[in-house]
């Protein structure tokens, strides 16, 4: 690589013209608390929560600690992340229905699992659930089954595997068995064999039943910011798409002879589809704190950006490539005929560099960068080399403790910015310039 080209990918960064404050915390969990304490303190001082955004290069290791820390400070975080659909209730419902259908016999817990996940019968023109002769709704009109009712069913039913028709007989003989158990078991018993079209129609019924009758349950139990409802709603959209894809993929696999015609194969295939290219959250929520992956902050403008995870290990992290480093280096240099080959700056962390710059540039008033200094094993975690390109004011450990403490005292460097100037800063222990 010529000197100038190398400089262009690792040289100075034209830092934005806003103050940058750096907070180093001992562990990742402490770091997450520091970041959320900053957001909470800003909010306490009248900064609208939508004027703050958190940017993380890779949310995976941070989502859980940030979420916990946010709850601690009574912040509702919204993660602009790939929805892990396999961890949502609508997906689990589809999976559990496949499992009940998978074998010749099913045990009590597997049988009750879809009901726990709020299975409800198809609503429109349901021939299996007619009104009673006197015109009142049928006994099974209350859907989904309450958690306590499912729990009681587990207590009164025997354990052990049996075919669905035997379960239905058993419901008739057990004193006090909930009528809704029979309704569900009959739906399972009537299920067609797994063909591409029947897979889509049956699982489609399950998901639509959920959308109509279970989502209102989620909503009524949700916090004011309706985060669970939103997760449910997003998951339903994803699972509907997934069920449609299942039809085609199942047909292709059957035709190619690479998959057996069974409900457990359907469940496996659903798992494969669900873990690929997940979708993203659709809309912003003015009452919640936006947490982005850094790439997604591009071109936005937010007064306060909290950039989390500025460690040498995590930001930058060069992209994966099967090509040997010497070859990549030659392609990046691009001398002579090699110049026609498309170089990928991500090989040397270029994409992370872009994301860092764009996260800083999104900030209108101030950037707070956070990092941690210790791994769970106690090893030292180094500061990101990206920070060498910018000037930060480091917050002392003492100030950091006051920040995460009960009073949530803003570090003086940050306080200056919120009140609009350096006046009133009487804390001489603070703000060493880098």
């Amino acid at each position: 690589m010529t000197r100038s080209d190398r400089l262009a990918l690792s040289g100075p960064i034209d830092a934005p013209d806003v103050p940058m404050i750096e907070i180093a915390s001992p562990t990742r969990r402490d770091e997450a608390r520091s970041a959320m304490a900053v957001a909470a303190s800003l909010r306490d001082r009248g900064v609208p929560i939508r004027d703050v955004a958190v940017a993380v290069r890779d949310l995976d290791p941070y989502e859980e600690p940030l979420f916990r820390a946010a709850l601690q400070y009574a912040i509702a975080p919204v993660f602009w992340t790939q929805l892990r659909v396999t961890q949502t209730r609508p997906y689990a419902l589809v999976e559990s229905v496949c499992e009940v259908l998978a074998g010749d016999a099913v045990d009590r817990d597997a049988l009750l699992r879809p009901l726990e996940l709020r299975w409800s019968p198809p609503t429109s023109g349901d021939p299996l659930d007619p009104p009673l002769p006197d015109g009142s709704p049928s006994l099974s009109a209350e859907w989904p089954m309450e958690a306590e009712a499912v729990h009681r069913a587990r207590d009164v039913l025997p354990d052990g595997s049996r075919p669905i028709p035997e379960w239905i007989e058993l419901f008739d003989s057990v004193d006090g068995a909930d009528d809704r158990l029979r309704r569900f078991a009959e739906w399972i018993d009537a299920a067609p064999s797994p063909e591409p079209a029947s897979v889509t129609s049956l699982l489609g019924e399950a998901i639509e039943g959920y959308a109509e009758r279970a989502v209102p349950e989620t909503k009524s139990a949700d916090s004011p910011a309706l985060l669970d409802t939103e997760t449910d709603a997003r998951a339903i959209v994803r699972v509907r798409t997934l069920v449609r894809q299942l039809r085609h993929k199942f047909a292709d696999r059957l035709e190619a002879g690479t998959l057996e015609r069974s409900w457990s194969a359907v469940a496996d295939l659903a798992g494969v589809i669900a873990t690929q290219r997940p979708g993203r959250r659709e809309h912003s929520n003015a009452r919640a704190l936006d947490v982005f992956e850094a790439n997604d902050l591009w071109a936005l403008e937010v007064p306060y950006v909290i950039a989390v995870g500025l460690t040498a290990e995590e930001w930058p992290r060069p992209s994966q490539s099967a090509l040997p480093p010497e070859f990549r280096e030659a392609v990046l240099r691009g001398e002579g005929a090699t110049g026609a080959l498309a170089p990928q700056p991500a090989w040397v962390g270029g994409r992370d560099r872009d994301q860092f710059v764009d996260a800083l540039r999104a900030a209108g008033d101030c950037v707070v960068v956070t990092r941690h200094t210790r791994s769970p094993g106690g090893d030292e975690v180094a500061r990101s080399p990206l920070l060498d390109h910018v000037e930060t004011r480091r917050v002392s450990e003492e100030s950091r403790r006051r920040l995460v403490g009960a009073d949530r005292e803003l570090p003086p460097a940050l306080r200056d910015i919120v009140v609009g100037g350096p006046n009133g800063d009487d804390d001489g222990t603070e703000g060493d310039r880098e």
Partner: protein
């Protein structure tokens, strides 16, 4: 921040390269009856971010039509009456798995695989294929350039780089033999590029009659498939193209663009 630099001699007239400076797009926001500018970004959320900025600034979106590169190419191919079905990654991995199984544990059978413990892992084989595709777009001149580049590296890396090239090409060829669809969405980019140049731009004009400008945004790299699509449009259509790189890598990429455009007949593939 750094804005648009005057075009250098080697950059075609209708191509402008920017580093950051997306504000120029917002300056062009004005009420119109039809969009005349395609705003293209490979990351879907980036399109939404631009829309959010426009909304917050109370600027009209009328002049813009938002798309991603694959979406544009599908529209062009539909206008050309060409097929647009492509194998997705899930199915591609399962096809690769079955190719690897049919080759057997030791057999060459036309597929050269990179050596090493992970060489039989479908994900790794797919990574090799996409690396070759991203760097060369399977263009004969770039494939030759790869071989030349590999030859100049010290042993044993020279052979390794050469093997990876052939593994990538072989697996792509095998995949083509097993499906009537395009092997990947990226193949649709090549197909559309060829359609545009082969028809002297008439399919483009049919797909996007009112578009006179295309703005490509938020790029942290310029893959060979994207380069060749841009190249094809410059050669065969009157559309004006603006590329906005990002600030951490933009200076570097901007300098590399002329060489990337130096190949002939963009979209050509080294497969019969």
């Amino acid at each position: 921040m750094e804005g648009t630099r005057a075009l250098d001699d080697e950059t075609p007239d209708r191509l402008s390269l920017h580093v950051g400076d997306e504000g120029r797009l917002f300056e062009r926001a004005r009420p119109r009856s039809h969009p005349n500018e395609l705003v293209v970004s490979p990351v879907e959320l980036h399109q939404r971010n631009v829309q959010r900025r426009l909304r917050e600034a109370r600027l009209p979106k009328d002049a813009f039509r938002f798309a991603d590169p694959v979406g544009i190419c599908i529209r062009v191919l539909e206008a050309a009456g060409r097929p647009t079905a492509a194998v997705d990654r899930i199915d591609r991995l399962s096809m690769i798995r079955s190719i690897l199984e049919s080759v057997g544990p030791d057999g060459p059978l036309g597929v050269s695989l990179p050596t090493g413990a992970a060489s039989r892992d479908p994900q790794r084989v797919e990574q090799v294929r996409t690396d070759v595709e991203t760097v060369t777009n399977f263009h004969p001149e770039r494939i030759a350039a790869w071989a030349d580049t590999a030859a100049e590296i010290d042993e044993p890396i020279d052979d390794e780089a050469d093997e990876l090239l052939h593994a990538g090409l072989d697996i792509e060829r095998e995949l083509r033999g097993r499906t009537a669809k395009a092997v990947s969405e990226t193949a649709l980019l090549r197909r559309a590029t060829r359609s545009i140049t082969a028809t002297s731009g008439s399919v483009w004009n049919e797909a996007y009659p009112a578009i006179d400008r295309l703005t490509l945004l938020g790029l942290s790299g310029l893959s060979a498939p994207h380069t060749d699509l841009v190249h094809g449009l410059l050669v065969a259509t009157p559309v004006e193209i603006h590329i906005h790189f990002r600030e951490g890598t933009g200076e570097y990429l901007r300098r590399r663009v002329p060489d990337l455009l130096s190949i002939a007949e963009p979209g050509t593939e080294a497969f019969e």
